[in-house]
């Protein structure tokens, strides 16, 4: 396992080197964390020269913000293999500390980047089933295929009816005024297990309300240029055609923090450095983060992340 991981790291570096994508490192500690209400950053404090009373610092949950600052400064295409940290996540497919491969391609859109992700994953996984072409399906298409419902127009009442018809009852306390939690539940419990059974499956064109840091294409309905990759029912990667509008980014940070406060979570200061970089101009680009530990787990037919880590949480 240690050897395979080491071989993969070498292959990843060769893959990007051949494509003129530059390897970079950005700080693990940051004065701003993610505002996503569903991602919990570990926080610590720096005390020492320059900070008599201690400065609050977050362990990054992804290297996205500083990498975008490099892009705005003219770095060109970049990638990073980074340890990232998320509090509150431990399970078969989750560890509070894990390895992300994150990369950005200037001039790519989500579809071109999806094809590059497929190339890299097929390069790392030497499995005959993956010789089949990957499958590219829209968010609407998978809901239509598995649940016969239109996720972009369904009301909470319709999603509730759809959920009630499943074998697995929905958890108590689901909101009555927000479709997204219902869509997430239906996707994760009723659709995901069927995705990527015998090939890589990409899902794209998410609802605008789930754009995160992706651009939104106006239309009816407006769609987020976001994609995810699934293999054997497990989500492996999440990518965006990156939002480059600083004002829109600030509005999303503010909206996230309002949701955090409504849930009783502490607001997270927005990353002013990122906002300044977007205002200065982010080149048109697409970026993606790929969970290397999960991919390693699937490549070696293991059932849990802890099987591919030298020392998982329970033994740290």
């Amino acid at each position: 396992m240690l050897r395979l991981r080491a071989r993969w790291l070498a292959r990843i570096r060769a893959f990007f080197s051949a494509r003129d994508v530059l390897e970079v490192e950005t700080p693990t500690l940051s004065s701003a964390g993610t505002t996503d209400p569903h991602i919990h950053s570990f926080a610590t404090a720096y005390s020492g020269p320059g900070q008599r009373h201690g400065q609050r610092l977050y362990l990054h949950s992804s290297p996205e913000f500083p990498m975008k600052r490099l892009l705005a400064a003219g770095s060109g295409c970049i990638y990073q293999i980074a340890k990232v940290f998320r509090d509150g996540e431990a399970g078969r497919y989750h560890q509070p500390e894990f390895t992300l491969l994150e990369w950005y391609r200037v001039g790519f859109d989500q579809h071109r980047l999806m094809r590059e992700v497929a190339r890299l994953v097929q390069d790392l996984l030497d499995q005959p089933s993956l010789l089949q072409d990957p499958e590219y399906l829209s968010y609407a298409a998978i809901f239509q295929r598995h649940l016969r419902i239109d996720p972009h127009r369904a009301t909470v009442a319709q999603l509730k009816t759809c959920a009630a018809a499943q074998d697995l009852p929905c958890p108590p306390g689901m909101p009555e005024d927000d479709v997204d939690p219902w869509l997430h539940w239906l996707l994760s419990h009723c659709i995901e297990p069927h995705l990527g059974r015998d090939r890589l499956t990409f899902i794209y064109d998410y609802p605008a309300s789930q754009a995160a840091l992706a651009r939104i294409r106006p239309g009816d309905p407006p769609l987020a240029d976001r994609f995810e990759l699934y293999y054997r029912g497990i989500e492996l990667a999440n990518g965006f055609h990156e939002l480059s509008d600083a004002d829109e980014q600030r509005r999303r940070f503010t909206a996230d923090n309002q949701r955090r406060v409504a849930r009783g979570l502490a607001p997270i200061p927005p990353d002013e450095y990122l906002l300044a970089a977007l205002a200065a101009g982010l080149p048109d680009c697409a970026g993606v983060a790929l969970g290397l530990d999960r991919l390693l787990m699937l490549a070696t037919d293991n059932a849990a992340l802890e099987d591919v880590l030298a020392f998982p949480l329970e033994r740290n």
Binding site: L168, P169, P172, P181, H189
Partner: protein, 189 residues
């Protein structure tokens, strides 16, 4: 009773759902790439034994079930209730036919059984794994057969019927495995 957060979920934890006590059999943390994390659990209804699946939003709390397993001595049955006594506190408890269920045929006075109590009332009665009982009726075995392969039904003092080897006779005492209902051996008095 205490409440438990989904972060405390683990197999064996006893929780309340829809008014019934359940034990967690399996717990899985599920988090989609976006949005809320969930705990997907398999739980066993402690009254019916049925296993079902449920999901909870991670971080939610669930009421704990006041369920304890305790060893108690069986005293007697009055036809409606089976009465048990705690060997140290001498506290007595009655379990109805519904609760005792199939265990009734293995209950012999003075034997120590395992009772599962929910809010102090019995919901499960388990007999000892092995009981020693006297045969009240069985056909006489074929003369001369002392060890042969065949079996025959025998009625025990509690009314339970088990298959015994042909050489075992009425009035003899035998050991039975209550989990399988099978004859184990003869017991010399």
């Amino acid at each position: 009773m205490a409440t438990y957060s989904t972060n405390e979920f683990k197999s064996g934890l006893k929780i309340m759902m829809d008014g019934d006590p359940y034990a967690i059999v399996e717990n899985e943390f599920v988090k989609p790439g976006k949005g809320q994390a969930f705990n997907r659990v398999k739980v066993r209804n402690l009254k019916t034994g049925r296993v079902i699946e449920r999901t909870f939003k991670s971080g939610d709390t669930v009421e704990g079930a006041d369920v304890v397993d305790t060893e108690m001595q069986f005293l007697y049955s009055d036809g409606e209730f089976w009465h048990f006594m705690h060997p140290e506190s001498f506290e007595q408890i009655g379990a109805d036919a519904n609760t005792v269920g199939d265990s009734a045929k293995w209950l012999k006075p003075e034997d120590v059984c395992q009772l599962t109590l929910w809010n102090g009332s019995p919901i499960i009665v388990l007999p000892p794994n092995f009981v020693i009982m006297t045969i009240t009726e069985t056909d006489p075995g074929v003369k001369g057969d002392t060890s042969g392969g065949g079996t025959k039904p025998a009625t025990l003092e509690t009314g339970a019927i088990v298959k015994v080897p042909l050489f075992v006779q009425t009035g003899e005492t035998i050991k039975v495995d209550t989990r399988t209902g099978e004859y184990v051996s003869r017991v010399k008095e």
